[in-house]
Amino acid sequence: MIETIQRAGRRAFSLIEHAFDAAFGPRINPLYHLGALSFFFFWVVAASGIYVYVFFETSIDGAYRSVEYLTHAQWYVGGVARSLHRYASDAMVISVLLHLAREFVLDRYRGVRWYAWLTGVILLWFLYASGIGGYWLVWDRLAQYIALVTSEWLDWLPIFAEPIARNFLNSASVNDRFFSLLVFMHIGIPLFLLLGMWIHILRISRAKTNPPRLIMIGTSLALAALSLVYPALSQGPADLDTLVSRVQPDWFYLAMYPLIDLWSPGAVWALAGGGTLLLMLLPWLPRRREEPAAVVDLANCNGCGRCFADCPYSAVILQPRRDGLPFESQAVVEPDLCTACGICVGACPTATPFRRVSDPVPGIDMPSLTTRDIRARILAATASLTGKDRVMVFGCRSGPDLASLREPGIATLALPCVGALPPSFIDFVISRRHADGVLLAGCVAGDCYQRLGVEWTEQRLAGQRDPYLRRRVPRERLATAWVGPSGATTLAREIAAFRARLRAMGPYRRGPAPPPAAPASHPPEDRDVSYRVG
């Protein structure tokens, strides 16, 4: 059942994603940055909110008047700020819900990732509470409607001594101090939302909380244009002595409101509460068993910290050395956080196929596919290849299906993630002539299933991230195809083109050593290698 929904969802997302890929290219495809976009919208809402707050009057009479002043008299700044505040909030609901749906259909919510999912679901309540409080403050007819319906809804819970809906029965019962409380809540709840957003990303390393600059610029321009063309407007002053009969609710936040009237507050509580509970339990329905976690071999670990720097899930930490060797630290894996992506092995300097002494165990390794296994499987897969265009394809389990590539001249190996391949394996395949070329296939760039595998791989190949791919490896014998799980056709095409190029090149011959690299300014390591006690 869940898998059917996921499959259908994947198809739907994939259609939209391809359209965006075609329009913008995968690197600035907003669908690959929904979480970061939500952060961005939060900041837009916060900044515009601060401006609106400067002019906002916290009183029954002043609230509506001051917002009207902003919208009409000061339309060029205040009006735009109000509209940005409104539209960015709406946009945040869209990006958050899409983010939730997308992580669900891509199966990135179970196993080790349950934590981000659970905290994210709880955040939905904070998001809605933040937004609905804002509609209330404008104190127009929509606000009056929201005030009444919300209090009816809350009154259903047996927590208030007397019904709070009574406050909104006539104008005499609403006072200015109540507005101060509302403002206080409209600042306080979003602050809790922000705190929750921080908690939401705690367990992953290098969380992307800023979308790429081009997305920020494009989104800002779109929001600004929308604010100027369709400014957010109030719906007439609230008047508690009349009954609100017609309002135009903002469906992004208020979709449930008509149901409170239509059904009953209790039914909507059941729907919202039950829905939340179901979402919260989803990671365990059923639970996913991750492959066995990475294992550290202290005899081969000097605590260099590369695995720690590259782990996308903060599952590898450095702790003070405990085996008596004169190293400061050692890598330690927290199995509860490990998705068995193998990116740590791809970073380990001792994970190399050139090692042959006794038992070449690297400092960190994946029990399900060890470095030795990878070496053995490369040798087995390439042994029968013939011709001048032999290709070794390394793929990942979340990328294109490699099984369809079975044809003479192509050897394949599926890794948990393409980032699990230490670059020296590429050197090994080409320099030892196990194949004429190496092709790396994986998730769409910018949307790696294991978060950082594609990014780290590209940086390792470019000599920007350790371990570097040796400069001697002829780059024309190396190709990448970041095509994603639905890109099998594209992959086949790229392999065919790559093989044609290899045929034209002829067999690999070692050329002269490339000129020494100028000591280019090294990109600063943005993750401090320091102790974390886990």
């Binding site: 081969n300 000097n302 605590g303 260099c304 910290g305 590369r306 060797l325 004169p326 190293f327 400061e328 300097p349 001792t350 190399t352 050139f354 090692r355 042959r356 002494v357 070449p360 400092g363 020296s424 050197d427 320099s431 030892r432 000599g463 350790d466 371990p467 570097y468 040796r470 400069r471 001697r472 070692r510 050593a513 020494p516 690299a517 100028a518 000591p519 280019a520 300014s521 090294h522 390591e525 290698v529 320091s530």
Partner: protein, 130 residues
Amino acid sequence: MSLIEWDEKYSVGVAAVDHEHRELIGLVNEAHERLMRPGAVEAVMDFLGEIFARISAHFALEEQIMRARNYDRYDEHKTDHERLLDEIRDMMDDYEDGELFSEALLAQQLKTWFAGHFRSHDARLHRNLD
């Protein structure tokens, strides 16, 4: 006789780095010894592969220490590490491909390769990390 002898002047004053330097010297010496014995082609390849892995790890650690201490010549030292890794890989390929190869040449190369790094960069590192 050993190809390279550990000398206190090689010490960079960081226990972990010195420890690995000593281990590497042991490994290079062992490889050299094997090299001098007849019919040990496979064994030498194994040793070279092991030296490559060990030196890679060693450089990774040195780089981490340099970064942590904001060593001012980090970029040059890192470039030199990459060059040295390239060179030992070249030696391995030479050996494997059987081109232009002689035991004496490899021994000489190993010695020059290893000592070169000590003399230039690690010596300066020593003076600057104190």
